[in-house]
Symmetry: C2
Subunit: 270 residues, 2 copies
DNA sequence: TTGCTCAACTTGTTGGTACAAGCTCAGCTT
DNA sequence: AAGCTGAGCTTGTACCAACAAGTTGAGCAA
């Protein structure tokens, strides 16, 4: 009742790759070679079915490979398009950061300097520390922390989320940490003014595919990973904060500058 | 001839999510809640078809979502299993690194200390600098560089690749750079001994999905991104090297330590 | 001119079938 | 005992059909 039409190779007998892979590879080559430029539309599924003599499902499998690799995106009614990447540089180790580390101000300034429009929403909570945070703050698992959460946008595009946890014992000395709303001068400056100075920090950087929650908050397209940046800040005596920043991988690059870079900076022609 | 059997909601009328998403979400919940532990096998596609009253295509779509997110993996004949993650820590900013930055030695030592068995293949080439590298080395696009390429394994699992480019002008002063085979004392120590000292470096960290080439070299499973680490080293006068390390995102985490961390290190009980 | 409707495109979802190919193990053969 | 073979499980590839839903633009109506 269902004839399995001729599965023999038509291509000279050399290929062992499945057809959907051939579709993906061919399209990838076209994109790499500039046939389809970033932002350009790809042929429709129907066109590709004709070009590759394949069924719609097979063509879609091939396209799906490229979507999962973040090379193209699709939208219903519009078609497939080559993704264009725009990267924002994040300076993670400027000296200023030790004294005034990533106050919301530094973020706004950076973005504005790049000619873009920053925007953020803000929230304060009293929560129990997740295992991951408790370890880094050296407090008991399940103990309470102040969570200051920030959701950041650039030109209304979701860019990153930032969750900073402060240990409970800090609240007595720094009650304004629990105040809802921004602390104008920056929390770290506020802490410094109280004699709690951050003298060092440890950064951890990892990457993975986003959770559905993260994908929702950051409006992350299929095939785009997140960059996870954890900064634990220390006074001379104890850990005083743990900041977890979740960045869209397609939009951000982190920079660290260590040692003497005068050779790089002396003629910034590029 | 083809009756579209009853597309009405059976689920109380509340859901608007497509069925394959429901499958993905349900399985994700099961995994998060520990019903299926890391390494455990998931029910077969047939089982899931029964459980969700869905066609094989639909079930596969749902599973495919989780595969693309790196949460599960599949192998033909064996079934689907929950991925387990094992992370290796990479210290990117230890003070020693400024004087003796990532010689193969540091890598081998780190791995051996972790009780693992390191292994690497090595290659030297004279190539034209890619645009990306040429910019960082401040040489003309298309000019030649020495490429020292390293493919690293831990317990025979592909772990990372490292490509270090040296500008052509360095060869005269440091001819051994073109020697095939490892330079025992480490290239940076070798350069230092010639009076070419690396006094600072700039690191850039980005993430994306691997190219097919990278996926092949590092044996990267679907749904796993790569971590791209570029280190440009400077003497007091010029850039002297540019190292691009490609790391499997599921196996690596990078660490930077800046400032005074005595408070962290004084009781390393955890 | 303005605004609406609808046809004609696009991708998204879901159902089905058939066969290929990898893995395991029981059970037979040697 | 050792080794082979094949049944029966698994996922992988490829095809077909139907309808849902988002987008665009031509063309008609106010």
């Amino acid at each position: 009742m269902y004839q399995q039409v001729d599965r023999v190779r038509h291509d000279g007998g050399m290929s062992k790759q499945p057809k959907y892979q051939q579709v993906a590879d061919a399209l990838r080559r076209d994109i790499d070679s500039g046939t389809y430029e970033p932002g350009a539309r790809l042929p429709s599924e129907s066109d590709l079915m004709a070009r590759f003599d394949a069924s719609r499902n097979t063509v879609r499998s091939g396209l799906n490979v490229l979507v999962s690799q973040g090379l193209i995106s699709s939208s219903q009614g519009l078609g497939y398009a080559v993704r264009k990447h725009e990267v924002f540089e994040l300076n993670a180790s400027r000296f200023e950061n030790l004294t005034f580390p990533q106050n919301g101000d530094a973020y706004s300034t950076d973005v504005t300097n790049a000619g873009r429009r920053p925007h953020q929403t803000f929230r304060v909570e009293l929560t129990t520390a997740p295992e991951y945070v408790a370890q880094r703050l050296k407090v008991d698992a399940g103990s309470r922390t102040v969570l200051r959460f920030c959701h950041r946008f650039v030109d209304d595009v979701p860019w990153s989320t930032q969750a900073t946890h402060y240990p409970e014992w800090l609240i007595e000395q720094a009650p304004r940490l629990t105040e809802p709303g921004d602390i104008a001068e920056g929390t770290t400056r506020y802490l410094t003014s109280l004699g709690i100075e951050q003298v060092g920090y440890a950064d951890e950087i990892a990457t993975r595919m986003p959770t559905p929650e993260e994908a929702r908050l950051l409006d992350i397209a299929p095939g785009v990973p997140v960059l996870l940046w954890t900064r634990t800040g220390y006074s001379t005596e104890k850990p005083i904060r743990c900041t977890i920043t979740t960045l869209r991988g397609d939009l951000n690059r982190m920079n660290y500058e260590i040692g003497d870079l005068s050779a790089r900076d002396e003629n910034e022609s590029q």
